[in-house]
Symmetry: C2
Subunit: 353 residues, 2 copies
């Protein structure tokens, strides 16, 4: 067993749980350091069991040595999970209430025949995952380096007449030649009026002169993600767009300055939001200021008005204010920062804004 | 309201449901013909409501006119959903038991204050989605055409010394210049011994001479997916690999011949599996023979030993036998077929094997 699993077992004990069924792939990957897909992990003091099928069985055997026994699913997965829980003599089994579908809960529960209680848990592993160790930070930095390089590269591709999807195509190719496995999410290339939709689906639209293009991208490097947004101007930009850009940048600067270990995440969000409110643009900033990034592109903590998270040394979060003027254009500037003992380090600091 | 929603309302009536909460994105997309993300759709005779947040609100307004009212989430989504159910006077609300997480079910249920019964449903929309209409078949054909073109293109790239990830990189670029939005799933490029893992993660490994490379890929074309697998040989291939390839191809041919409207999906799987069993390779074919493809890369029906599905005109499925020899190599050949009134049409028929 590794330190991560030992830590989880300690937490389970606090909750009087003698086992936990982990179903979120990122959580399984975190605990095993193996990129899990379509599988389940049962954690208990009496042994860990990884349930997978023939597609992954052989691969898993190579990677999970000493961490978990591997059980190949053949027939009903949920009956099988229940059988192992009963065999291990578990009494109180935690499960991830946000990820286990209703039907799976019902099936496992019925096979447990009231001999094991299924206890909903919330964010037990996600809370551990918030604090990144040095190995994780190195991978995130590597992911950011590839992303920053992709931004430098794509600057040369951006010009009037090029389609959004073609910019995406070039980025997709570039990042894989430069060490990434995949993008971290569907890359957003939003030109002109499309930039007013925060999660625009990259389209066939051709870039035009005298407009802006917003690119929101990240990569997956050995499981760890990056997430950056930049806005590029083509030709002459009108004064409104310039003003919006300057305000967004300033909102981000103010937010970044307000980050320190111990700060409330909601307070950092408030700093950016209040600045934009004073300038009359608060209602055009609809989304949260930021989110944690790691094995998942969106993870804890949340930088939002209602967040109850406290920023702590070792967390990695995005800071991404935006102003979206429907029918006109939108601007978002997004960087990733590591909370340190002193304040924060902008991990994507080398990239122009 | 459109025909798809009207059809669903008819089915809800059979189950004595006066509404349904749809959470699976592909199901929402099917009903609305709008590519939904992170949203929920409430269907009822008294009106349809689409719940989304500020990231998608403006986009959704453009596309959902006449289909659903749009409600922007601000605060608790589940309280909001419950409020609308109560306002509409619903009594029995269906939900998708396989997709609604346990915690969401609990939250909605508590906000419904026992005034609306939450009823688990299974595959109501998925069953409708199995039968593709002409528009859908056209999109799938288009997705396949792009994929087939990508295979023709990549043949020229494959050579010793090239990395798996570089082949992926070139495909990722090619498909986007040729009309696709995205790959349909993580493209598998599995060279040499890596091909023995059915769901290998494309790696930094360099292709070597005298080995094979397996490529499993598909694209997303306006929401519809394709899924094809081909194996390429570099240099001299030993007789075992040749034999395995021939057997896999023959297993596929036999399975294809056994497809007709009214056939049991399990029977088609059996035809391929028994042929491989006779040759002594059944235990190296661990996965199912095939699956439906449409808005999701894996959907109903299933071609598996335990499937109870009956193949019907209008279904689109993969037929993909494989033989995997751990430590050596693996072979899979995958095509997509449309079940017709007479038998089946191999939609990827023009591509060499």
């Amino acid at each position: 067993m590794n330190q991560r699993i030992i830590k989880l077992l300690g937490i389970l004990e606090e909750y009087k749980l003698d086992g936990m069924l982990v179903s979120l792939p990122a959580n399984i990957t975190y605990l095993t350091k193996y990129r899990s897909r379509d599988s389940y992990l049962l954690i208990s003091k009496r042994g860990n069991i990884y349930f997978t099928d023939s597609r992954y069985n052989e691969e898993a055997k190579l990677h999970l040595k000493g961490i978990a026994s591997i059980v190949k699913i053949n027939g009903s997965l949920f009956k099988l999970i229940a059988k192992y829980c009963l065999d291990l003599g578990l009494k109180r089994l935690g499960f991830e209430e946000r990820y286990l579908p209703y039907a799976e809960h019902q099936k496992i529960n019925s096979h447990l025949r009231k001999k094991v209680a299924l206890i909903p848990t919330h964010s037990l592993i996600e809370k551990i995952r918030q604090l990144k160790d040095n190995q994780e930070i190195e991978k995130i930095k590597q992911a950011l380096q590839i992303t920053a390089a992709a931004f430098e590269f794509i600057k040369k591709v951006i010009s009037p007449g090029v389609r959004e999807i073609e910019i995406d195509a070039e980025i997709e190719r570039f990042i894989r030649y430069n060490g990434a496995d995949n993008p971290a999410f569907d890359i957003i290339v939003a030109s002109g009026p499309n930039s007013a939709y925060p999660h625009h689906i990259t389209s066939q639209r051709k870039l035009e002169n005298n407009e802006l293009v917003l690119i929101d991208m990240g990569v997956d490097y050995l499981g760890y993600k990056s997430d950056l947004t930049r806005v590029f101007f083509l030709g002459k930009i009108n004064s409104l767009a310039q003003e919006i850009y300057t305000l967004t940048k300033k909102a981000q600067e103010k937010a970044l300055k307000s980050i320190y270990p111990g700060a409330k995440a909601s307070e950092v969000d408030r700093v950016a939001r209040e600045f934009l409110a004073k300038k009359g643009y608060a209602k055009f900033f609809g989304h949260n200021l930021g989110h944690g990034v790691g094995l998942e592109i969106h993870e804890e903590p949340r930088l939002s008005p209602k967040s109850e998270d406290i920023l702590t040394s070792g967390m990695v979060v995005t800071v991404e204010p935006g102003i979206y003027l429907t029918g006109k254009f939108g601007v978002r500037i997004e960087d990733m920062v590591l909370i340190t003992n002193k304040g924060c380090e902008v991990l994507s600091g080398s990239l122009d804004k």
